[in-house]
């Protein structure tokens, strides 16, 4: 593991915010941390980034770089009165990084930001600020990137663009990337590994697709005349218009689709619905 946090606990005013939590991520891997608001995601990330000292446990980052880990906590924090170049220059110069114009242009290019914007950062959209925040986090070539709710507040296009950027960074630069969200759809599309945190405890973890598949107990299948299907009578089903919400495990979905096809019912969509209650059930020892 490039980064690993072991047995981390933290309390604030006798309130336990993190309870013996462990997390790890490898080079080129994207790990997702899923949890509701107030679950302890941000506190865990602050501990990983060294901003907060844990009550127990250790954080280890395997990297020879001067800057082992970069990140964004609770949204990008930038000098709003400075432009993108100046922000990069400030954060770069204080850690001895090359802040020549060429180097800064490369930084901006690597996160897909325009190089001709010289106005202050306060004029940037949230998506652009996120990108600039990532550019700053990437200064000095850290081995690991920690992003706290990076998709928060972004429009669908912004989410898609940022997702692609994260995937590129992991694949091309072999960064270990840990990102958090309270929305599973955002994580499910890009994460290799998923961690589920609830009330300060890690309740579930594993390969993302496996975790999602194992905890998906309902599928929404839409098709014309689906309410007439005989095959569906074997399952607990709720009909809504031309869609059926079917209580079924993932392994039986292909068979059902085949049966529907045999009945002349041609599906237009098949959407799995994750059972959040099941996902957040404590299974980890």
């Amino acid at each position: 593991m490039i980064i690993s946090g072991n047995d981390l606990s933290k309390s604030y005013n006798q309130r336990k915010v993190l309870d013996h939590v462990s997390i790890g991520c490898d080079a080129g891997e994207i790990c997702g941390l899923l949890g509701a608001n107030g679950a302890g995601k941000t506190t865990l990330f602050k501990i990983l980034l060294g901003l907060v000292t844990p009550d127990t446990g250790t954080v280890a980052v395997r990297s020879a770089s001067n800057k082992k880990i970069g990140g964004i906590i609770e949204g990008p924090a930038l000098y709003e009165y400075l432009n993108a170049y100046e922000n990069l220059k400030i954060f770069g110069s204080i850690q001895g990084v090359d802040v020549s114009k060429k180097a800064l242009q490369q930084c901006l290019e690597s996160v897909g930001l325009p190089q001709d914007r010289l106005d202050p950062v306060r004029n940037f959209s949230l998506g652009m600020k996120q990108r600039l925040g990532i550019a700053i986090a990437l200064l000095n070539n850290p081995a690991c990137l920690v992003l706290d709710e990076p998709f928060s507040g972004l429009d669908p296009l912004g989410v898609a663009a940022l997702r692609n950027l994260v995937v590129d960074l992991a694949a091309q630069h072999q960064l270990a990337i840990i990102l958090s969200s309270h929305i599973i759809e955002e994580l499910s599309k890009i994460c290799h590994t998923l961690y589920v945190i609830k009330e300060g405890r890690m309740v579930n973890q594993g390969p993302a697709q496996e975790l999602i598949t194992n905890n998906t107990t309902t599928y929404t299948i839409c098709a014309d005349n689906i309410e007439n299907s005989l095959a569906l009578k074997a399952y607990e089903t709720r009909f809504k218009g031309s869609c059926a919400h079917i209580h079924i495990t993932a392994d039986r979905v292909p068979e059902l689709i085949f049966q529907l096809h045999e009945e002349g019912i041609y599906i237009s969509s098949c959407v799995p619905e994750l059972n959040m209650e099941k996902l957040f059930e404590t299974t980890a020892p």
Binding site: N66, G75, Y79, L82, F91, I94, G133
Partner: protein, 276 residues
């Protein structure tokens, strides 16, 4: 360390509030100058009232030197008020905007970071006092000319123009040390309180209390001689006919000591506290 200091200077100069503060100070200085001119007339009338019975006066005492002296009398309250806002704001703004967090996410030493803030605060304070000294002398001499300086400190002291100019310069240097003390104190308060409004209130309170305690006589005790509030009018010692250099050096060293103490406390607290 050099990079941190350069970054701090860059941030300070790029923020509009710094320039607003400098403009405000120049405006205040201008207003003080012109009100001092009219106040000066009254003061001279009262001071010289008894002497007028026995003497004719040749030459004018209402000149640039007197006006710079009168500016100095009021400057040391207004100036630290504004300095404290800018200096403490250099840290509280970073807490508020969370840029402090971003900085601490880079491989930057905590104590070096806060030390660089203290160094830049001190440099900024000295530069501002220098600017005010330059503008006071330029405006006062330019508009009202040079001449003897009259100061009442238990006795009526008359200083020839050249001597007055030197004493006024020393007064600015001495006053600058007081201003550095207040700037450093405000930054330490910013480390403790983190939030801008609370820091301003406490800093202003600190300044007001210092000014009030300056006038309280604690008797002929060591406390009366070394208490920090008592050191802030050291500049006045330059206007006794014979300057007590021992007292001036002692007070200046003590003020520097207090500044270093506040700085050490601030660095220690900042280093120990979590940023998140």
């Amino acid at each position: 360390m050099k990079a941190l200091i350069k970054a701090e200077i860059f941030k300070l100069l790029r923020q509009s509030k710094t320039w607003y503060a400098l403009a405000a100070l120049l405006m205040i200085e201008g207003v003080i100058l012109f009100s001092a001119y009219f106040q000066g007339k009254n003061i001279l009338d009262i001071l010289l009232d008894n002497l007028k019975k026995s003497f004719y006066f040749e030459g004018t005492l209402l000149n640039g030197n007197l006006l710079v002296y009168l500016i100095l009398n009021t400057l040391w309250f207004h100036l630290p008020l504004i300095l404290m806002i800018i200096v403490s704001g250099s840290l509280t703004a970073e807490y508020k905007d969370r840029t402090l967090q971003t900085i601490m996410l880079q491989p930057v030493s905590k104590w070096k970071f806060i030390l660089s803030k203290y160094i830049v605060a001190i440099g900024f304070t000295l530069a501002v006092v220098g600017m005010l000294a330059l503008t006071s002398f330029t405006l006062s001499y330019g508009l009202f000319g040079k001449g003897d300086l009259i100061v009442y400190l238990n006795t009526l002291n008359f200083f020839p123009s050249g001597d007055a100019f030197v004493r006024l310069q020393y007064a600015f240097v001495s006053g600058a040390l007081s201003m550095v003390f207040f700037s450093v104190a405000s930054l330490t308060l910013a480390v403790i309180f983190r939030e801008a409004t609370k820091t301003w209130i406490v800093s202003s309170l600190f300044l007001i209390l210092s000014n009030l305690l300056l006038k309280v006589d604690f008797g002929d005790t060591i406390f009366n001689r070394v208490f920090f509030a008592k050191l802030n009018d050291t500049w006045q010692n330059f206007f006794y006919f014979n300057i007590n250099w021992t007292l001036v050096y002692t007070n200046s060293l003590l003020l520097c000591g207090y500044s270093l103490l506040f700085m050490a406390i601030g660095i220690l607290l900042f280093h120990k506290k979590d940023i998140g």
